[in-house]
Symmetry: C2
Subunit: 596 residues, 2 copies
């Protein structure tokens, strides 16, 4: 069945639809006045495109247009005519034709001088765009992003629901706090002192659904986290939430690969599966991060052995003084041509402030393969040759070397790798192809991480299962346990995370009470559920906003969300959050400090 975007309306066609084949047809179009000229031409726009209208001379329609502001809404009836060949506009989808207007009605007047024009080439400040979001939505960019998002989620639903028998189940968002997670919003109730928490994810519910024999669950779920002003996060966001029983981590990975392949838009490049896999350890060692951008190389290289015992003071000091120390490098092709002193100073500052690393050594490799570097006077010619060979140095390469505690060195170089790549990309070097979508699984994460209080905290969440071969370590050496968690990374951003869950009530109780020191009362229902015949199960949550942001090439998730909040959680259009009446506070038994 063909998709009919004109059914149940007055129009016969959209403003993006007419072609040569329609010439001679009587049509009705509805849309916004994008331009009009001399009472002779109108460009009519809707969410699908633009069409040029011609107004016959001395027509009352020309008169009607005289006092009409741009962005007013028109309904026009007319005849499709071919444009003369020299007037055809190849850049415009409807550029072969125009519509000779017979009648026109003004459906909705616009006031003159709107806060900004709906033209894509105009750069409008984001706060203004958010304040008048209903105008911004008319731009072809937001139209494209929101329509793409709808199409992608529809394909996902088809794959899950129609082809693989998943059941779309809505779960509540007014619930009880889940311990050990993000900050959750609270909602006062008419019971004094009692609050709901807005769920940060359907995690508990999806596990309870597995206990309840709904063994193939999915939901495109609205979630809430009160994360304050974190960059490119939203207080409410969407995840494609999936859970299955009687499955394994690898099977879930295959499912997700199939899902993304099926729902990936035809216009984008094809996805090849299976996606590559790295262990957490490998990712950290090669990329200094658990979400490596694998669209480009520049991996971190260990050069400890090369520099060890070479009487280079800065390095020897580090290696002698600290355990778990090393010297590592990244090699940036063409970096010597573009990365300047002030950028290097910024990098050094990052090392100092974020990772307590003193000194970032650089080597500028010249055209003739000679070096410009502080190292020159410290290292032998032999060592230089060794480095050249090991790092495969080419003319104009920039080498950045950091020494110190291994963990910090990796993180710094991981960060600088991405910064340098982005900088070179912005300078026009093809570090990556903008059409590349590089997916990567990261696996074998630790189950627990050291917490600020000196104990352990869950690396992901307290319901993640340990790897089978590590289960015995849970009781003896929990910090060494690897988990059955997996992250999916796309172009250096985490877009999904999931795991096989703990389905043994004993193990879950041990993890919560003995390791994490959590109060069980808040999770009593989950423990009881695990005691009532719980199948092995696992799942994943895909961050839909982030995925759509990368897929549509948007610069922020706010450009793939119809009505996003500003960075500080405000709705700039309506002014939310806002003060509420004293009556309402009384109704909910809450008081707030006197307002200024």
């Amino acid at each position: 069945m063909k998709c009919d975007v004109n059914s149940f309306t007055w129009r016969t066609h959209t403003c993006g639809e007419l072609r040569s084949e329609h010439v001679g047809q009587q049509v009705t179009l509805c849309g916004w006045v994008q331009f009009h000229r001399m009472g002779k031409f109108i460009t009519l726009r809707d969410g699908y495109g633009v069409t040029q209208l011609i107004i016959p001379e001395k027509s009352p329609v020309g008169y009607l247009m005289k006092n009409l502001s741009l962005e007013s809404v028109l309904k026009v009836e007319g005849t499709v005519v071919q444009r003369p060949l020299e007037e055809q506009n190849k850049k415009m989808a409807t550029g072969e034709i125009e519509v000779e207007v017979v009648t026109a009605d003004v459906l909705g007047k616009s006031k003159p001088n709107l806060p900004f024009n709906i033209r894509d080439f105009q750069k409008v400040k984001e706060s203004l765009r958010l304040m008048y979001r209903y105008l911004d939505l008319r731009t072809s960019n937001l139209q494209k992003n929101l329509r793409l998002r709808s199409n992608v989620t529809m394909k996902m639903r088809e794959f899950l629901c129609k082809h693989h028998g998943f059941v779309d189940i809505e779960t509540p968002t007014l619930f009880r706090r889940t311990p050990g997670g993000a900050q959750e919003f609270v909602v006062p109730t008419h019971s004094p002192g009692k609050f709901y928490s807005l769920t940060q994810s359907p995690q508990q519910f999806k596990q309870l659904l597995m206990v309840g024999a709904l063994d193939r669950y999915f939901q495109i779920a609205h979630c809430y986290r009160d994360e304050g002003a974190k960059a490119d996060r939203q207080p409410e966001f969407t995840q494609v939430d999936i859970e299955m029983s009687f499955t394994s981590a690898d099977r879930i990975k295959s499912l997700v690969e199939g899902l993304l392949q099926y729902s990936w838009p035809k216009e984008a490049s094809n996805l090849s599966t299976p996606f590559p896999k790295l262990t957490y350890k490998e990712a950290m060692e090669m990329y200094g991060t658990d979400k490596p951008d694998t669209r480009f190389d520049m991996k971190i290289i260990d050069v400890t052995d090369i520099f060890k015992n070479q009487n280079i003071e800065i390095f020897d000091k580090v290696l002698m003084n600290k355990e778990n120390s090393s010297i590592k490098a990244i090699v940036i092709p063409k970096g010597a041509l573009h990365i300047n002193k002030s950028l290097l100073e910024k990098f050094e500052e990052i090392g100092k402030c974020l990772y307590s690393l003193e000194g970032l050594v650089n080597i500028f490799v010249k055209e003739d393969l000679n070096w410009k570097s502080i190292l020159c006077k410290h290292v032998s010619l032999e060592l230089q040759q060794k480095l050249k060979k090991n790092l495969e140095l080419q003319p104009h390469t920039l080498v950045l070397i950091s020494a110190g505690e291994t963990r910090n060195v990796l993180q710094l170089l991981g960060k600088l790798r991405v910064e340098c790549a982005a900088y070179l990309q912005s300078k026009g070097l093809n570090i990556w192809n903008p059409k590349d979508f590089n997916f990567l699984w990261v696996v074998d994460f630790p189950l627990f991480l050291p917490s600020d209080e000196g104990g352990l905290e869950p690396a992901h969440h307290p319901f993640t299962a340990p790897q089978e071969q590590d289960t015995h370590l849970v009781y003896s050496n929990p910090a060494a346990v690897r988990s059955q968690h997996y992250d999916l990374v796309l172009n250096g951003q985490e877009i999904a995370g999931g795991s096989i869950r703990i389905h043994s009530s004993e193990l879950q109780k041990y993890v919560l009470t003995d390791i994490l020191k959590e109060d069980l009362t808040e999770l009593q229902h989950l423990i009881e559920a695990l005691e009532s015949g719980c199948p092995p199960h696992g799942g994943i949550a895909i961050g839909l906003d982030r995925l759509m942001c990368i897929l549509s090439g948007a610069s922020s998730i706010r450009d793939v969300i119809a009505f996003p909040k500003s960075l500080d959680g405000k709705d700039l259009m309506s002014g939310a959050p806002a003060k509420i009446s004293d009556e309402l506070k009384k109704f909910y038994f809450i008081q707030t400090p006197p307002s200024n």
Copy 2:
């Protein structure tokens, strides 16, 4: 493509899948132990059905079962064998076969003596079912309802998104209060004294999307209303939310008819469209309600003219004393056989308490068409004949007559009509066919209703457009204006409501300020949007919980929701809402009264 419910799992088939055609196959099943007998038989259940397993004699599997509680989770491998003809169970979908077990693994033990057994014939108290919802979900009834719900919404999405180009757009739920609606939950923020409101519907957003040229919007939207303990309502609920530009009320009705027809399950009866239509006035006069159950007749009949000036004191008193008074009747076939005195007393009580109506006159029509009624001594034989003819009285009919203010009489008889029908249905009379789905549009509602404060309030919401021919009355006689609102009624319950909206900023401002006396500041953004080129638009919201409840024959919407709240808004499983920490209160700048 066939739907594969076993992909990405360990099993080869579900417990509801095996038939004679599978005999001889090696299969792997996973499920819950429903029964086991003598170490010889197991009934294994999952969300798809049950399969009988046979354990070979002296097999270790038999030993394994000895100490295993019911509801434990098993994975079994075995061979499908035909049951002897005399042992085949026609009532069981898999009753032709059984599976001879080769190996079995216990995947998840259940403790013995769960709070209730998962057997459909068992009647378990609802509070217990809610407290252990994960057990209740295993019952075939909830499995059926939730799977049906998922299938129906998938079909709806197909119809809207794939066949008619609607765009699925998520809208925020953390927003600013919408004046003139239901009680909205509030959410404190980290800005002292400032709150979000949880949206009661995407009404404002969907109108803003129309202004933003997203002219075919839909969303299966999560909504919030703090309505306290209203019967069969939930604090969070779901509506299928639709809005279109460049359309009319009749076109939207056609869209909804097409949508329901397309997504209606094959197992249910076919829907024939268009659905019948009644005006609000007709509905009130014939059924005493704006949501008539049209599965049965028993319409309200006006008998004022028959009883007027007949010297019947009880009637004359009413007609003389009050304006807008009348005498009306309902005729209940077979009612005289079933409706007894105590029920009639209850009916009279309803009239007194809810509608201030004294006396409910009844006529029991006997086998020989003679009457038993208090009226007998007051009315002439001639009048009796006239009534017989007008009301088409048959043997054993019960007539209920009420006199008083017309509005109250209609409402009382409307209520008694439904009560009597339900009572007779419960007594086994075929008042309606349980497979009937009677849809009905109710139209031509008043735009405003008298408010408790003596002014006017919106009959539906303040954005509803008046009918074109009544627009002038908005300024002169607003109480007389009919709106472009339409309700969709199914079997006597309102399941959808929508309207053409006001798209003129002047009219919207007039309605909000001059008629409804609302403060415009909260809606300034909407008014500005209407001034920026707003297309004519309208839409509808379908109450999905209610629709699925009626469609699946459930007795409460709680039976079509995975994790519903109890009548008083509690989650009995987790104990939400719950107390929160003082730390959290401080973080959100709120205080609550000292707790007991």
